[in-house]
Amino acid sequence: MKRVYVNEEWCLGCHLCEYNCAFAATGERDMAKALKGMEIHPKIQIEGDNRISFAVSCRHCDDPICMKSCIAGAISRRDGVIHVDKDKCVGCFTCILVCPYGAVLPAPDGHAVRKCELCTDNACGEPACVAGCPNGAIVFEER
């Protein structure tokens, strides 16, 4: 299955992927209009210091402990993608407690969680973080 991977040595730490991710979720056409002055809630996060940086998002694990631990049965696998049913999720944060990558985040309203679904949950079709990475550091490929 194709997943998002980051090549640490090429990541500039520019945070553009975070913006592209947040933008993809809005469904708007103009990034400046959609995000200007807004607090963004991306599903990919840049970590690091001034020497090393890298992006972290859901790994769509073969053995997804988030799915097995969800108290509501709100997490399932759809064509390989680990998907959260926002309507079933009650925001208990058990998935945040177990994800070894820290890839699940509270949704802005606090009643559910958000995580990368490889842009299958928006109109992009292909991961927006990958398409917009200026240095080709984030890739979407089979490994």
Partner: protein, 409 residues
């Protein structure tokens, strides 16, 4: 291969999925004394709160049983296991043959002897969907509710009915709330949060005697109430296993493969005890992730595969009125503590391992800490100073990080 599962909750669902990952053919029969498809017990308080529905509480899609070739016998109770003949006897008189059996019977409320309890007309426990429905039917906006027990279940009940009751008072013998998962600082913080949402506490006190609509406490106080909820603890359902000759301690004893001491009988979930890797001690870990993972391991092994669930740790994610607490492991060791308004963070370290943590308020990416506990990662192989600041993958070596993020497991 014929499979029979007693119980139809999380451990049973894990078992079905475990079996089907190995054997797509063998018939599976699930026996449940509840009249519902598998639903989430933790969600009963959310149901009363109005933040979920009975439909959404189902933990699997409606076609789960059919798709997995499962015959669900709901509203039926297993009353006997004949391990020599390999049959399960039902209360209705039927007898079901099995090649491999899973006991996933969960737990039930523990009601200690309390003087005068039989005088109370409107009394409830809070574990099942039917318990929630019964409580809901009796509640009115004027109801004065007394809850005995300031543990997870009692307090989740309190939160769930806060908007639908006149008043709620919680009594507990312990002098602080949630003692099984929090330390004193954490308990205090959560108590303030819950109190500020209109729930009263009488701690370090207990009921000496019940009248019809009042409780006389040991301290001499009297609390009048309309509805009583007893939530002092739970007991694993171990009777069937004992009677079948399985080794039983506080819960049914199982190994890492979820096998009991009797051949072809497995057990999983809240009815079992297992080894907590943070203390090395055997205990009942009555939490949903544990039930799934143990059930899944049982299923795979029952079907002839090989799966071991060897890193059980206690852990809990729970929130009250918007303040979240995430905890894991055990708290015996050197403490690293950070507090600021609305936030409490404690990491516990022993023998070069992270043993446990409490996070209140700031909970982001807590799973990175949990994985250090579950994987028993030696702390001298990571940058622990970075981890003290916050959970982050930066704390791992570049090589370890490449393995973690570069592959997918």
């Amino acid at each position: 291969m014929k499979y029979v599962i007693i119980g139809n909750s999380t451990a049973a669902v894990g078992c079905v999925e475990g079996i089907r990952s190995v054997d797509q053919e063998g018939p599976i029969t699930v026996i449940s004394d509840e009249p519902y498809p598998a639903y989430s017990r933790p969600l009963i308080s959310y149901l009363l709160q109005g933040s979920t529905t009975e439909e959404k509480m189902r933990t699997r899609p409606a076609d789960f049983y059919e798709k997995n070739g499962v015959t669900l016998l709901s509203g039926k109770k297993a009353v006997r296991i004949d391990d020599a003949r390999k049959t399960v006897g039902l209360e209705s008189g039927e007898s079901l043959p099995y090649d491999r059996l899973l006991i996933a019977a969960g737990s039930r409320p523990f009601i200690p002897p309390m003087a005068g309890l039989d005088r109370v007309e409107k009394k409830f426990t809070f574990m099942k969907l039917d318990d929630a429905k019964a409580l809901e039917a009796a509640l009115t906006p004027e109801s004065r509710v007394l809850i005995v027990g300031a543990g997870l279940i009692g307090l989740k009940c309190a939160e769930g009915i806060r908007g639908r009751a006149g008043s709620i008072t919680v009594v507990d013998l312990a002098d602080r709330i949630l003692p099984s998962i929090l330390d004193e600082t954490g308990s205090k913080m959560m108590q303030e949060q819950i109190e500020s949402n209109g729930i009263g506490f009488l701690l370090g006190d207990s009921v000496a005697e019940f009248g019809k609509d009042r409780a006389h406490l040991k301290s001499g106080k009297t609390v009048e109430f309309d509805l009583l909820v007893v939530a002092v603890g739970v007991r694993p359902n171990t009777e069937l296993a004992s009677q079948a000759g399985c080794e039983v301690g506080r819960g049914i004893a199982v190994d890492e493969r979820s096998a009991t001491s009797v051949p072809d009988i497995y057990a999983a979930g809240d009815c079992c005890e297992c080894r907590d890797i943070t203390t090395g001690q055997r205990r009942v870990l009555a939490i949903l992730p544990n039930a799934y993972l143990q059930g899944e391991a049982a299923g795979v092994n029952m079907a002839g595969g090989e799966k071991s669930f060897a890193n059980a740790v206690p852990m809990n994610a729970i929130g009250f009125f918007g303040l979240h607490v995430l905890t894991a492991g055990s708290y015996d060791g050197e403490e690293i503590v950070e507090t600021k308004p609305g936030v409490y963070k404690k990491l516990v370290v022993k023998d070069n391992l992270l043993k446990g943590f409490i996070l209140i308020g700031e909970i982001a990416r807590a799973g990175i800490y949990t994985s250090l506990i579950r994987e028993q990662t030696p702390l001298d192989t990571v940058d622990f100073d970075l981890l003290k600041q916050k959970p982050q993958l930066m704390a791992f070596t570049a090589r370890r990080r490449a393995e973690k993020l570069g592959g997918a497991k």
